[in-house]
């Protein structure tokens, strides 16, 4: 048993996220690990397989940057706003590079994480029947229930090389605490071979509001990154920056506008703190 190392985000990414890796940056509207996504881009990782139930703006940025070859997902959009334009450009026009897709339903993706977290080769659900989804995925198969004979659907366990999540707190031993919408973070961390958790703050003891606790010994690295989920949110720390999500539509629609934004706001910054500082100074900044 080894416990989580409390380190910097830059060191955690340098040590754990390699070119060609299968990585899951999970978060369901809440606690999306934007700072970690940016650090992966700053360090120039390439050939990644991106895993996530709800790829949103951070994956749009990573796809537009050309960091990904493949995506495993169930719903890719900018919720309440519209399309992910970089994602669409990659799929529709192969720009800046083609993006292979493997797609599922939300229930299927969740079941795949649960199976992996449970150490099972597959999970079972009542799903996909009659849809076209199984035709394009090698990881969906039908099976008969051994007790009733009912036709059910099996989905293969999904083991990311690295899962990255954001949380409100870690204590000084590296135990991680989350409250608010828990999403699929616990399952995604337990499904992965290694994990990085960015947190709002490192505290002496976890807040009693925590409803999900990841013990230090199932986490590989912890790094404090205040506001590290912006423009997503951290319950009881800061609200979702809906204005940024709306502004992203115009930034991402045009290839050059996006490339310029990415360079100035991410690639040319030293860290997420500088990124947030820059955003605060622009109209597309935080509400």
């Amino acid at each position: 048993m080894s416990t989580a190392e409390i380190t910097t985000l830059a060191d955690a990414v340098a040590g754990l996220v390699h070119d060609g890796a299968t990585i899951a940056l999970e978060g369901f509207t809440h606690l999306i690990p934007y700072a970690a996504g940016h650090e992966i881009l700053r360090q120039g990782r390439a050939g990644l397989t991106l895993v996530r139930m709800t790829p949103d703006v951070i994956y749009d940025q990573m796809i537009g940057a050309g960091a990904a070859d493949r995506m495993i997902f169930s719903w890719g959009g900018n919720p309440g706003v519209g399309s992910l334009h970089r994602f669409r450009d990659a799929v529709e026009h192969g720009f800046p590079r083609p993006l292979a897709l493997e797609e599922h339903s939300h229930a299927g993706m969740a079941t795949r994480y649960v199976a992996a977290a449970s150490g099972l080769p597959f999970g079972v659900l009542r799903g996909y029947l009659g849809t076209d989804l199984p035709r394009y995925s090698p990881d969906i198969a039908l099976l008969a229930c051994p007790f009733t004979g009912e036709t059910l659907t099996a989905v293969r366990a999904l083991h990311p090389d690295v899962t990255v999540v954001h949380a409100q707190q870690a204590d000084r031993r590296g135990n991680v605490g989350i409250w608010g919408i828990p999403g699929v973070q616990k399952e995604a961390v337990l499904a992965a071979r290694r994990s990085i958790v960015t947190v709002e703050e490192v505290v002496d003891s976890l807040d009693s509001r925590c409803t999900v606790v990841l013990p230090s010994w199932v986490v590989t690295a912890v790094a404090a990154v205040p506001h590290g989920a912006h423009p997503s949110y951290a319950h009881d720390y800061y609200d979702r920056d809906n204005r940024f999500y709306a502004a992203w539509d115009a930034i991402s629609r045009d290839r050059d506008t996006f490339a310029d934004w990415l360079r100035r706001h991410v690639l040319d910054t030293d860290d997420f703190g500088e990124h947030l500082q820059l955003l605060a100074e622009t109209t597309a900044g935080r509400a």
Binding site: R88, G127, G130, L133, T151, I181, G183
Partner: protein, 257 residues
């Protein structure tokens, strides 16, 4: 007085109000983002204060004071009766049959209420890549009934789907049941032109009502298959002053307003 000085409802407003009217007080409703969420919250403000709104982010019994922008906005969690993880919301709550009504949107629908939210064009070389399945396939299979809300045109009401993301009445007749789907399937399609219901035997969707100022010909021409029109075609009751006022107030409170 109706806010904004506009008395006549827009087509989208009629669609939202008609959708809201379908939700009964006490119904357990699985809500998608956008128009379905607006309709469900409108119903909660009007005739269904006890409707239970479940968002796929894991918020059960959410009571937002303004329409959320995303399915996981903080206010949903802060006002919910319970907040659970994503695997749980799909397994214990949806798959196990605890949902009365699921509202779904779609990019394409066919005559049997099957829907496409994946691609326009060929799957491997799409002209338009859409967001994908999300929670829709299991809502479509497990909710006791689903209501589909979308604008009606030859682009959206197609003879043949480019991709079947979620199953309605499959190939019609009893083919859905034969597949072993636990839920009842789509009972209603609400568009900006009218309302469609499935024929009880063939399960093909039939135009049963048109909205005020819309003729059946307009609906037929906006459909990519030979749309059948019910002999007793009704006209939708116009949104009331109270309905419109509440809807406009809700919208003015929206996250981006």
């Amino acid at each position: 007085m109706i806010p904004n000085g506009q008395v006549r409802p827009t087509a989208d407003e009629v669609m939202t109000v008609v959708a809201a009217r379908q939700l009964g007080d006490g119904d357990v409703c699985f809500v998608g983002i956008g128009l379905p969420s607006l309709a469900a919250n409108l119903a909660r403000c009007l005739h269904a204060p006890n409707a239970v709104l479940i968002y796929e982010s894991g918020t059960i019994g959410a009571k937002p004071s303004r329409p959320p922008l995303s399915i996981g906005d903080g206010e949903l969690a802060a006002t919910a009766d319970a907040v659970v993880g994503v695997p749980e919301i799909f397994a214990y709550w949806l798959q196990a049959g605890r949902i009365d009504v699921g509202f779904l949107g779609a990019a394409q629908i066919d005559r049997f209420g099957n829907i496409n939210t994946t691609v326009v064009g060929d799957y491997l070389r799409p002209t338009v890549r859409l967001p994908g399945a999300g929670g829709a396939p299991e809502i479509a299979s497990s909710a006791r009934q689903t209501i589909v809300i979308l604008r009606q045109s030859r682009r959206t009401f197609v003879d043949r789907l480019d991709f079947r993301t979620s199953v309605g009445h499959l190939d019609g007749g009893d083919s859905r049941q034969a597949l072993g789907m636990p839920g009842g399937g789509p009972t209603l399609v609400i568009t900006d032109l009218g309302v469609l219901r499935p024929d009880p035997v063939s399960r093909e969707f039939v135009l049963v009502a048109v909205h005020p100022d819309v003729g059946p010909v307009q609906a037929v021409e906006a459909t990519g298959w030979p749309l059948k029109v019910a002999p007793d075609l009704a006209v939708t009751e116009s949104p009331t002053v109270a309905e419109l006022r509440e809807l406009r107030e809700l919208r003015s409170l929206g996250a981006l307003a």
